[in-house]
Amino acid sequence: MERSYLELREKVEKKDKGLREKVKSLSEAVALIPDNVHVAIGGCHYSRTPMALIWEIIRQRKKGLTFSKSITATEGDLLLVAGTTRHIITSWFSPGVTWGVSRIMRHYVQSGEAQYEEWSHMSLGLRYKAGAMGVPFLPARSMLGSDVFKRLSNVKEMSCPFTGDKLALVPALNPDVAIIHVQKADPYGNAQISGFPFMDKDIALAADRVILTTEQIIDNSEIRRTPDRTDIPFFCVDAVVEAPCGCLPHECYGVYEPDFNHMDMYVKLMMEKSVDGVKEYLDKYFYGPETFEDYLDLFHVKDIVKATLSAKKGYGG
């Protein structure tokens, strides 16, 4: 999976970097993802998860994907049970502290069926950042001495040539594809994120290809009025899909909070019935609906209205 600097550059150099429209349907966009590649997921935990793309990835029955994500929530369960992946690179994996430890994660990892490759949160962030910067590694003062460090095969230690300090070197992570959900993007792929940026800017620059979903496609002239708010430049982006409510049941900062009733329902099903429960869930919510709009239609309007109202009120109090 390690590629040379020139190989990485070649992918980027060959991209059509002109200011051209890249609006696609969900299925067209996901068709850009081959099997057996590494897909980085934007957002963090259950915030700004590109759920519409994950929904479509599962429906297109992709195989052998490796996923990386800063913190993995319920979407990790779904990708494991759907058979999309057997290898997840992340720093934490469960729905959330109040919901307990994911039985799905435990099931697949404890049996040895799937690999949960654990990095510290900052180290994973630095891996993406190294990838985004075009350097093969970044130095850090974290992970040293721990078993997290010992268990990883691709980290190194060095003695700093300036100070003699012992440092951890974390290798660049350059995903084949990044999937990211944003609040606003123009048809060319210029994206503006509100609230938590998480690691998404670095992920977008580190990846060979970037697929965006956006709550709303806005005109390029709107981007140009506040260019200092643009987080992802158009030339990184290969596809833009308009997907309102594209994170549900997860949240999208300033647009909607999580649908906690749905989350509670999912977690209950998952915790009680494990793999079978998640299969039921996939049948009903992922394989059943014909379109993503039909998926959304399975949510309760009152829950969405509440989640939307709370988020739109904002947090500036």
């Binding site: 900052m122 003062r141 001495g145 900062y253």
Partner: protein
């Protein structure tokens, strides 16, 4: 006038930890009880305590009753002074801007090493826990407070897996591994406040929670615990602390009683 207040073990740990957070300091708080405890400190004695969350938040003022179950969701940013990328907020610790890291502990050993990854064998674990999150970074880079329930199976001689480093194998081993800053400051349980012997890097009993005895603490600890000479008894949660705590967490999502 001494009023007998009633509280459960989780509330005790939460309040007792909150007291350690001084006004004017910066604390990096993990999800769950640490988050609740840090906010409690801010609402009681430490008005200008600055809270950092892993999601990328500096200085929020989370609303009572709206404590989020993740430090990565938008309600964590309520009235924040700054929201920034995850990697950058974690790097603030590496730069030295964080006075306290504040973590929960699934399993902690005599050297303050925390395990939140594997119970049993690494390759075929009995339980695969959620993992480090920012825990390893916090423990590598900041002075750490650990809040946890006091049980023999949780306070062990040697953790199955060092997710977040304490003093590793004691003595100078933490520094020798390259972790020249930070280290575990206190472990707060429902029975005790535990510190560390500076030279040996080994946990020792510093204070007893109200009603606890040295014997009871030792009984519930999985290794032979040193006891400091000037052992003190911590004061019980006050009515005011409990009142604020209940406002913050009315549904008791984070302070459900745990079996004694």
């Amino acid at each position: 006038m001494a009023v007998k207040v009633s509280y459960n073990t989780a509330e005790l740990v939460c309040i007792s930890s909150a007291r350690l957070l001084e006004d004017g300091k910066v604390v990096f708080a993990g999800a769950g009880l640490p988050l609740l405890s840090a906010i409690l400190a801010q609402k009681t004695h430490a008005k200008t305590l600055t809270i950092l969350f892993e999601g990328g938040v500096i200085g929020p003022f989370v609303e009572p009753g709206k404590l989020p179950p993740s430090t990565n969701e938008q309600r964590c940013a309520t009235r924040a002074n700054m929201v920034l990328p995850t990697t950058d907020v974690l790097l603030l610790q590496q730069r030295g801007y964080v006075d306290y890291g504040f973590l929960g502990g699934a399993q902690v050993d005599q050297y303050g090493n925390i395990n939140s990854s594997y119970i049993g064998d690494w390759d075929r674990p009995t339980v695969r826990l959620p993992g480090t999150g920012g825990g390893n970074d916090i423990a590598s880079l900041s002075k750490v407070i650990v809040a946890m329930h006091h049980e023999k199976r949780r306070l062990v001689k040697k953790v199955d897996f060092i997710t977040s480093p304490g003093y590793l194998s004691g003595g100078n081993s933490r520094k020798e591994a390259g972790l020249i800053a930070g280290g575990v400051l206190k472990v707060v349980t429902h029975l005790a406040i535990l510190g560390f012997d500076e030279e040996k890097g080994v946990m020792c009993l510093e204070g007893l929670q109200p009603g606890a005895t040295v014997e009871k603490v030792k009984e519930n600890t999985g290794f032979d615990l040193m006891v400091k000479d000037n052992l003190y008894e911590a004061s019980a949660p006050t009515e005011e602390e409990l009142r604020v705590l209940h406002i913050l967490d009315p549904e008791r999502r984070y302070t459900t009683a745990r079996g004694e």
